[in-house]
């Protein structure tokens, strides 16, 4: 893959913007189109592009695999934990109204946290699946392009 100069340069230019767009979709999901699911896949797509161009080993050096595996579970835990938190604060499960003094604020906070959990799990799962597929055959980095 080292000889594909155009691909390397173009993707180097694009990847920051893809990742930034993923974050934008994640945290601006309350106001514009998007949310955790979309943000997760966009972020993962940017990262997978990096892994394709610069090789699996470099990608694994940026985010070690164990952190991504932890992210898979952590996202779901954040989502379910928000529900438990609202239980502890006297509401129903996943009833965010009790998370802040005023119900709408609590709802906003709850939605924000929950979407973050969704995004984390989706992005981690996509990257984990990609690593699992690509890691089976080390030639994939060179052969594919």
């Amino acid at each position: 893959m080292s000889h594909h100069l155009v691909v390397r340069v173009v993707s180097k230019l694009l990847i920051p913007f893809i990742l930034l767009f993923g974050l934008y979709v994640q945290f601006h999901g309350d106001f514009g189109p998007g949310g955790g699911f979309q943000a997760g896949v966009i972020f993962a797509a940017g990262f997978i592009l990096y892994a394709l161009v610069y090789g699996l080993d470099n990608a694994k050096r940026i985010i070690p695999e164990k952190y991504i595996r932890a992210g898979v579970a952590l996202g779901l835990l954040i989502f379910a934990g928000t529900g438990v938190a609202s239980l502890l604060m006297g509401g129903n499960y996943l009833d965010y109204s009790v998370l802040a003094e005023e119900a709408p604020k609590g709802q906003h906070l709850g939605i924000f946290v929950v979407e973050f959990g969704v995004g984390l799990t989706v992005a981690s799962v996509m990257i984990v699946i990609f690593f699992a597929f690509a890691g089976r055959d080390h030639q994939i980095d060179e052969k594919e392009e």
């Binding site: 979709v25 999901g29 309350d30 106001f31 514009g32 189109p33 998007g34 949310g35 955790g36 699911f37 979309q38 896949v41 966009i42 993962a44 797509a45 997978i48 592009l49 394709l52 595996r69 898979v72 579970a73 996202g75 779901l76 989502f79 379910a80 529900g83 996943l94 965010y96 119900a103 709408p104 604020k105 709802q107 906003h108 709850g110 939605i111 929950v114 979407e115 959990g117 969704v118 799990t121 989706v122 981690s124 799962v125 996509m126 984990v128 699946i129 990609f130 699992a132 597929f133 690509a134 890691g135 089976r136 055959d137 030639q139 994939i140 052969k143 594919e144």
Partner: protein, 172 residues
């Protein structure tokens, strides 16, 4: 879109088929933009055209580039597909027209979402409000499904890798 589907059916070169299905996903994404489903279009473009194409290519590495032509023609699968498709199309005959304001879906809870969701959740994006708050349980279930899928792939493929390494060591 129809052209890509026909080509996918006709071709036997799996590499071309994977590329065509990526193109199909891109076209589907533009279609979703046309019907104002921008967030669905995001997902379709990123997952359908991007990630799943990459994963399919990864799978192609393992199984070769051309499709095996089956030695006998089977009528039963075709029959099942046609009957199922016909039943589904028959089911759509009862459905209200797209965008019909009298449709049941616009009568039940949708007015409440449209009128009250901003006041109740202070989130301007109604889709996000419904997805994360009103339908929180559904979304939790979806995330659990994705989580399970990821864990499943991890368990299946990691184990194969481990087994292989052992065989390599034995061979060496």
């Amino acid at each position: 879109m129809v052209l890509t589907v026909l080509l996918i059916i006709r071709l036997h070169n799996l590499f071309a088929i994977v590329m065509l299905s990526g193109i199909f996903s891109l076209l589907a994404a533009t279609f979703f933009v046309v019907v104002d489903g921008v967030d669905v279009a995001f997902t379709e473009a990123a997952v359908g055209a991007g990630i799943s194409t990459v994963l399919m290519l990864g799978a192609l590495m393992l199984c070769g580039r051309t499709e095996k032509i089956p030695d006998r023609k089977t009528v039963l699968p075709l029959l099942v597909a046609v009957v199922t498709g016909a039943a589904l199309v028959y089911g759509t005959l009862d459905m209200p027209y797209y965008g019909d304001p009298e449709a049941p879906i616009h009568q039940h809870v949708a007015p409440r979402y449209i009128n009250d969701s901003l006041a109740e959740t202070s989130v301007p994006n109604m889709v996000t409000a419904v997805l994360a708050s009103y339908r929180g349980y559904d979304t939790l279930g979806e995330v659990a499904v994705i989580f399970t899928a990821g864990i499943g792939v991890l368990v299946l493929l990691s184990r194969i890798k481990l087994g292989r390494r052992k065989e390599d060591e034995d061979a060496a």
